[in-house]
Symmetry: C2
Subunit: 437 residues, 2 copies
């Protein structure tokens, strides 16, 4: 059979990796797919492509011309960002071409529009590479766990953030110091906001939640909190208490609605996911039949991401002749069977918490604090008081609370911070046991 | 669309679980699959099915009659064992029905014959549940990693064995003691040979290797060693040296051929897979593009296994109208593109080793031993000597060696055991770093 013809948009890190993997493993891939997959056209801003195998490609700077090439079956969008990626993908669909993309921002923000257009035209938009790089988590959730009512999913889905927290813990370094190194190593962008503020994780979590629960993509409803306020002290204290701090994206189905949140999280150290270190990613999924399952691997990088892009190409190649109604639906559930279960506002989410505050070292202070918590129905599971440093008049108090509504905890923190015996802000880090229940 | 009709063979643990998951999650499953999946007929030896939802099923004791039912689309074989499972599956294929099975022994031993028959008739034989229970590892290997040249895969793929080793380590208990408990808990069969001797793991490893490398199933070539000789002392010493002992199934592609082996293995404690405890399973896969990825979950049990069976049912339902040439090939690679790369005999496999022996506590003994190793080109990475117990005349010597050919290590062990200063057998446990190279 003739090879499938692919038009590649973008020959940067992931685009170059995709070209190389397709070229290097072409024999392996066609032994699997039953036919070859070749990039016939590519569009790129650059004109030189060191370390990229561009054999056989017609390369131009006009991405729209590639999308309009009549004999191309599949467009691979690896430009990133919203524009012109959105226009290119929509035009490819309009042209009746299938699309493979690694663009998490695009799918999280414009996925509903894009999938509706694809559904209308009977084409596939595949996006395995958009979440957790090379880990086949989209496939696991949409197909591997299709027997299950998914209860929750929690993931370490930003490698830069995990690298920073791992280094803070392993080497006792400070946030700013490790961030600078991550930027130097090329893990973090010059503007690290997307990574450390949790925006990148929010994109991925949006996608995970949609395919786990069959709900439309709702990026704007993700509660997003970064890791910039986590101190070396918090990391060490968490460890002492038997926990690790991870920047977690978490989505859970409750009776009242869907939780959708990205924030630093204390996880029991003995959990496998607490031991995922460095730039690696992992997603833990709980299904009602299968119980907990975990998927681990490289969440970014040239070839790991290319691995997911090419796997999608093989899948799309196999599905070219499948009637659209029998393909795996974009959001795992048939498009006319999506659920309108609401996403909960963060105030309605219940979590246990770690609290750290600076208080005056004198009688009565603890009584004030515990009374405020008690008034909100918050019970304390553990309490640590650190001896004052010589000459200092205040001490650190650390508490672990039982599960409590976010709204009540917000109110308690406000009242505690208003006490004149408490200095500065209360640090609050949510805690999840991630056990089977 | 009408529901897909399924004939279920076996209403025991997994069969009952499959019926229950299909019934409980029928709405979720049909929202995914686009149509319902219902068990119209079932065959079972029993006549009472406590805790199983048998609504709508015609139940008989004649499995062949179910296989011959004309209006059934898919046969689910959950009887286990070789016979009559093989005859039933072949007859279902002959009748033009698709098959879903959880039967690892059947696939590992008769898979080549079964897949050839299925290929001939243009039907699917799906077997996700045959390896690592609810973990979608078959899907990850066959589809999720299809871009990769797989380099190796290593798995904890027998829950009973992992439970025993975990308990020995965590609680300092003896093998026999934990085995007895595992039998009481129902983890281990009355005859635990399949589990503790590694036969069950060999079945699963055979399947993993075939779909990783595109080679025919070759159960008879798996080197299989059990965990019955692992002592509490070995478990403790491994821990001291920074390792955990796991019963690992490992397959690797080398220039000379494929390694295919199941044996107790020292793994660095910091590796994620070394921290997979209790009855849980995990498979670590190294692809050339994606790097290492790991898949973790329940490897056995009623509903986790049913999760994989039902996921296969959804997949087959979606593929009913796909032309056979565009389906995912049974062994991941097109049947006419399988590789004849040979499986290496164990003597030709290279591993590092842990050695423990009892030697006389007097000068010259160590020199004899190290000379024997040196003669075979074996270098020692670490050496521990345990002080003799009061009054005893012999001491334990523990060594970690660098990588060495199995054949040379066998020769060295034979010569060491022949020394009259060495008492009894030398314990040899292979060591794998499972790093990215």
């Amino acid at each position: 059979m003739n090879p499938v013809k692919v038009g590649l948009l973008g020959l940067g890190t992931v685009g170059g990796g995709t070209a190389n993997v397709l070229a290097r493993n072409q024999e392996e891939i066609s032994r699997r797919a039953g036919r070859g997959i070749c990039i016939s056209h590519a569009a790129a801003r650059e004109t030189e492509f060191p370390d990229v195998d561009t054999t056989g490609m017609v390369i131009s700077t006009d991405a729209f011309a590639v999308v309009d090439q009549p004999d191309i079956d599949i467009i691979v969008e690896l430009i990133g960002g919203y524009d012109p990626a959105r226009e290119l993908v929509l035009r490819a669909i309009e042209n009746g071409k299938h699309v493979v993309t690694a663009n998490k921002a695009l799918i999280a923000k414009h996925g509903n529009e894009i999938f509706a257009a694809a559904q209308e035209k009977g084409v596939i938009v595949a996006f395995e590479a958009a979440v957790a790089g090379g880990i086949p988590i989209i496939k696991a959730l949409r197909e591997g766990l299709s027997a299950n009512r998914i209860e929750w999913a929690a993931g370490i889905i930003n490698g830069t953030g995990n690298f920073i927290l791992s280094e803070m813990r392993d080497k006792g370094r400070d946030f700013a110091d490790v961030l600078a190194e991550a930027q130097q190593l090329g893990y973090a962008e010059a503007d690290p906001t997307f990574d450390v503020e949790g925006i990148d994780a929010a994109h991925k979590l949006t996608i995970i939640a949609s395919i786990a629960f069959g709900i439309p993509l709702q990026l704007e409803k993700v509660y997003t909190e970064g890791i910039g306020h986590i101190t070396q002290e918090d990391v060490g204290l968490a460890e002492q208490l038997g926990y690790r701090i991870k920047h977690l994206g978490l989505t859970r189905r409750t009776d009242k609605g869907i939780e959708l949140r990205v924030h630093p999280t204390l996880i029991p150290s003995r959990r496998l996911i607490a031991n995922v270190d460095g730039v690696m990613n992992a997603v833990l999924v709980k299904g009602d039949a299968v119980g907990p399952t975990l998927y681990y691997g490289a969440g970014a990088g040239r070839e790991p991401t290319a691995s997911a892009v090419v796997a999608d190409l093989v899948d799309v190649t196999r599905s070219l002749t499948t009637d659209p109604g029998n393909r795996v639906p974009h959001l795992a559930f048939q498009s006319d069977a999506l659920s309108d279960i609401p996403v909960l506002p963060m105030e309605a989410v219940e979590t246990a918490c770690y609290l750290r505050m600076q208080v005056d070292d004198r009688p009565g202070v603890m009584a004030d604090i515990t009374r405020i918590l008690g008034d909100q129905g918050i019970s304390i599971e553990a309490l640590l008081q650190r001896e004052p440093v010589d000459g200092a008049s205040d001490v650190s108090v650390i508490m672990l609370t039982h599960r409590v509504l976010e709204g009540q905890m917000n109110e308690s923190i406000k009242r505690i911070e208003a006490l004149d015996t408490v200095t500065g802000k209360v640090t609050r880090i949510r805690l999840e046991t991630l056990d089977s229940d």
